[in-house]
């Protein structure tokens, strides 16, 4: 084991330790089991429904299948996962007083933060992988193969998960109450970002390039047979009354927005946790 000159473990060893025991804690917690059950139930219902109805929406083409199965549900599961594993990850250290066990050790707060973040990411990845496994198993059963767009979509979803967790950890560092940090995360991802996307597009007529949920659109969009155009203007004439312009993030744009969110919120979250006091 790597030991530093003052006798404590090296920062890297401490990071591994922090990740290992935080992950163990996640793995044994009831919420992990709940997430596994949720993924299993939704996928089993989908399996039964598609098997019974033989719906054309699912079975007409491989991209149609993966778009309907994976593309329609994965964003809500990512939201649930980050709320379950990240919503109270840092605020819980204050409210539940577990921070009093960890922080007074010769370990940097940043090591604790990153260790917990990695543990949450690994636990969330397991949920994502479980959903992907159900999707793939059904796709192969219906002879849909594994299109490269599905692999791309999985990787984009993985990056979105990493970014959404980073945003969640930042909000978790901002509050000492677990319920407030969880509520803020849910409101933010479920309503605030989406409302801002719509307002920005419809009222201000500007592209919501500043929104993470806008960037997340690439996860489902890549599963279209033709990638949607970046800008679709509102219809003119009689149809104009109920038609609004829409924007679709390009893949490069979506990846860039997520990467910026990832870096900025990770740094902000770290600074917040470094400055937060246990009182």
């Amino acid at each position: 084991m790597a030991v530093s000159s003052n006798g404590t473990a090296s920062t890297f060893t401490q990071l591994i330790t922090m990740t290992k025991y935080s992950f163990l804690n996640y793995l044994r917690a009831r919420r992990f089991l709940v997430m596994v059950l949720l993924v299993a139930i939704v996928n089993l219902v989908l399996t039964a429904a598609v098997g019974y109805t033989r719906s054309a929406d699912f079975l007409n083409s491989p991209l149609g299948f993966y778009g309907a199965w994976w593309g329609s549900f994965i964003d809500i599961f990512i939201l649930l996962t980050v709320v379950f594993f990240g919503g109270d990850a840092i605020s819980g250290e204050f409210q539940n007083k577990t921070g009093y066990y960890l922080v007074p050790n010769p370990i940097r707060r940043s090591t604790i933060y990153v260790g917990k973040y990695l543990a949450a990411f690994i636990a969330s990845t397991l949920i994502l992988a479980l959903f992907a496994a159900f999707t793939l198993a059904n796709g192969l059963y219906y002879n849909m193969g594994v299109p490269t767009q599905f692999i791309e979509s999985f990787l984009f979803a993985w990056l979105y998960l990493l970014t959404a967790l980073s945003v969640t950890f930042m909000f978790s560092s901002l509050f000492k109450s677990t319920s407030i940090s969880i509520l803020i995360t849910i409101l933010l991802f479920l309503f605030v970002f989406n409302v801002v996307d719509e307002l920005s597009t419809i009222l201000l007529k500007i592209e919501p390039w500043f929104s993470i949920t806008y960037a997340e659109g690439i996860v489902a969009n890549v599963l279209n047979s033709t990638y949607p155009p970046h800008f679709v203007p509102a219809a003119t004439g009689v149809a104009a009354r109920f038609s609004f312009p829409t924007y679709n993030a390009t893949i490069v744009e979506g990846l860039a927005i997520m990467a910026i969110y990832l870096v900025v919120t990770a740094l902000l979250g770290l600074v917040l946790f470094e400055r937060k006091e246990f009182n």
Partner: protein
């Protein structure tokens, strides 16, 4: 091993207009046990939290073994075991896992970890709970595990914030025994407590603060000699009972003794005027008079006198 040291230099913590700790200066050096006393809200826990990176000082420095806790935390806390307030452990972990986590973090050699954990858990009488989930434990049981965690890396300094809180009387006694055994192993223990008898029992020195300011820091006998209202009190434990007449005619006549009264047939309370010299002389005289002395210690009541006198002055 260098002399363990805690150096609190002009340490101040303010919350808006409220000052929790005001320009505190304490230098503690060498193996000993120092009791940290003060009423609720005096600034004891705030000070201990600043020594352990749980909160940041508004100004001043907290140095441990010469290292600044806030600029070089890893070095400063490398040889420090802590118990601040009542920490919680991740509920799904077992004590073995929770202690292994601390052992790994602190760089305890892999080959020693298992034995260290088992020894630390045995010290706090929790061996039979080693592989049960912490989530099911009572507050006192968790406190015992946290004490084991503080001891796991065999630290030279221990920072304890009311370590017996939440423990039953047996647990309190066991913690006091642990602290005493650490003193024998040349550790520096800085311990806050509300229980004056506990401090009198285990500590060599006391530091008292109120309103965030240091009132006194000295050895226990010196503090009681300087600030106790009407003389100091020694409690003497006896092997054999002695006759009241003997107490009146002999013990009361020892130089410096103001009064000697039996507490029961095996315990004696001696009130005296003077400091350590007088205290030592009384013990010599008792031995010369063939009194079989089992224990001889400043009574907590003397410390209580000091505490009440000093705190009253700052109200």
């Amino acid at each position: 091993m260098t002399n363990p040291s805690i150096d609190i230099v002009n340490l101040t913590k303010t919350y808006g207009s409220f000052t929790a700790v005001a320009n505190l200066n304490i230098k503690i050096e060498g193996p000993k046990c120092v009791g940290f006393l003060g009423p609720n809200g005096a600034g004891k826990t705030t000070t201990l939290k600043m020594l352990t990176d749980l909160i940041k000082p508004s100004s001043g420095q907290a140095l441990i073994n010469g290292e600044n806790v806030h600029t070089n935390k890893r070095a400063a806390l490398a040889s420090v075991g802590t118990l601040i307030e009542t920490p919680e452990i991740y509920p799904s972990l077992t004590p073995r896992e929770a202690l292994m986590m601390v052992a790994e973090m602190r760089g305890v050699p892999r080959a020693e970890r298992k034995k260290r954990i088992e020894d630390a858990v045995a010290d706090v009488r929790m061996s039979e709970w080693l592989d049960k989930r912490v989530g099911k434990f009572s507050k006192g049981m968790k406190q015992r595990i946290c004490i084991a965690a503080a001891l796991i890396s065999d630290p030279t300094i221990l920072l304890l914030d009311e370590p017996t809180t939440g423990l039953d009387p047996r647990g309190m006694s066991e913690v006091r025994d642990i602290v005493k055994s650490l003193k024998k192993r040349n550790r520096l223990i800085f311990m806050s407590s509300h229980i004056l008898s506990e401090v009198a029992d285990v500590c060599d020195e006391v530091a008292m603060i109120d309103h965030g300011k240091l009132l006194v820091y000295d050895t226990l006998p010196n503090v009681t000699a300087r600030f106790s209202g009407d003389g100091n009190v020694i409690e003497v434990g006896l092997l054999n009972s002695i006759a009241p007449a003997f107490i009146t005619s002999n013990v009361s006549k020892i130089a410096g003794v103001l009064a000697a009264d039996p507490i029961d047939d095996r315990n004696l309370r001696i009130k005296y005027a003077g400091g350590l010299e007088v205290q030592a002389n009384i013990l010599s005289e008792l031995v010369k008079q063939n009194v079989r002395v089992l224990s001889y210690r400043p009574a907590s009541s003397a410390l209580e006198d000091v505490y009440l006198n000093l705190i009253k002055e700052t109200l």
